[in-house]
């Protein structure tokens, strides 16, 4: 399990590689929160296209980061392409407040066109 970061302007992309469950959630949370407090970050892309497994712990991770980013008026968007992960995200009703894209590039583009 690891998190890979990349940024474009004020958009930070966090690529979550491996399995996201209760066991790995805390590590992922800490990693991402340490990055988003940096001044260069305003918006956040949570990229699950390389995530091999996610349970409801992932919902907590998404909602928590969304809250943190929103405090500074930033936007959060998601990318995911695996059925199981999309199912979990949609079940929780997250897509009503956080847009979901098929790939991280589209997710970043959606933030660029908003600015």
């Amino acid at each position: 399990m690891r998190v890979k970061f990349s940024s474009k302007g004020n958009i930070l992309t966090a690529k979550i590689i491996g399995e996201l469950d209760h066991h790995t959630a805390e590590y992922i949370r800490e990693k991402i929160d340490a990055e988003i407090v940096k001044a260069s970050t305003k918006h956040l892309v949570l990229d699950f296209t390389d995530t091999t497994f996610m349970d409801s712990s992932g919902i907590g991770v998404i909602m928590g980061r969304y809250k943190n980013i929103s405090k500074f008026n930033g936007k959060t968007v998601l990318s995911a392409n695996k059925k199981q992960i999309i199912k979990i995200i949609e079940m929780a009703g997250i897509t009503n407040i956080i847009p979901l894209f098929k790939n991280p590039q589209d997710a970043v583009d959606s933030l660029l066109s908003n600015d």
Binding site: D21, S56, K83, Q84
Partner: protein, 149 residues
């Protein structure tokens, strides 16, 4: 109905065992040759049930979790039991978005996920004694295979 195969696993309530338990359940189920998607459903439900044991039943203390899996022609039963604190109000616990531990950034979706990824979900619990989650997954892909014969 007699199961065609059965297994029992006992492990400590450590969060590193969440992935262990779901991989065991999925690999046992794979004897039936269900689809990758059906196996992912099983993995997800087991992960939720085991996580509940660790966070809620044992509240991160050490305890024993048992998992029993039974295979039938085209379905699987999974029983996950802990001997922890039990659930006072099962109906409330099963409500979507309800969590007794909001401070942990938990979503309250565990039972909802189990319910929608599996075909049967029954929860029995006695405060102070423990909880058993009983789930059935019907592998519809195996039914379809039979139809095409």
């Amino acid at each position: 109905m007699q199961p065609i195969n059965e297994m029992r696993l006992e492990f400590l309530s450590k969060s590193s065992n969440e992935s262990f338990a779901r991989v065991v359940a999925a690999s046992f189920a794979s004897q039936l040759d269900p689809t990758v998607e059906e196996l992912a459903d099983v993995k997800t439900a087991v992960s939720e049930a085991v996580t509940n044991c660790i966070i809620h039943a044992y509240e991160n203390t050490s305890g024993i979790i048992t998992m029993v899996c039974r295979l039938y022609e085209d379905s699987m039963e999974i029983e996950i039991t802990d001997y922890g604190k039990g659930i006072e109000d099962i109906k409330l616990a099963m409500q979507p978005l309800y969590t007794s531990k909001p401070e942990l950034e938990r979503s309250g979706m565990g039972f909802t996920v189990m319910e929608s990824f599996m075909d049967v979900l029954k929860v029995t619990s006695e405060p102070g004694k423990g909880t058993t989650v009983f789930m059935v997954k019907k592998f519809k892909s195996l039914n379809n295979k039979d139809d095409s014969k």
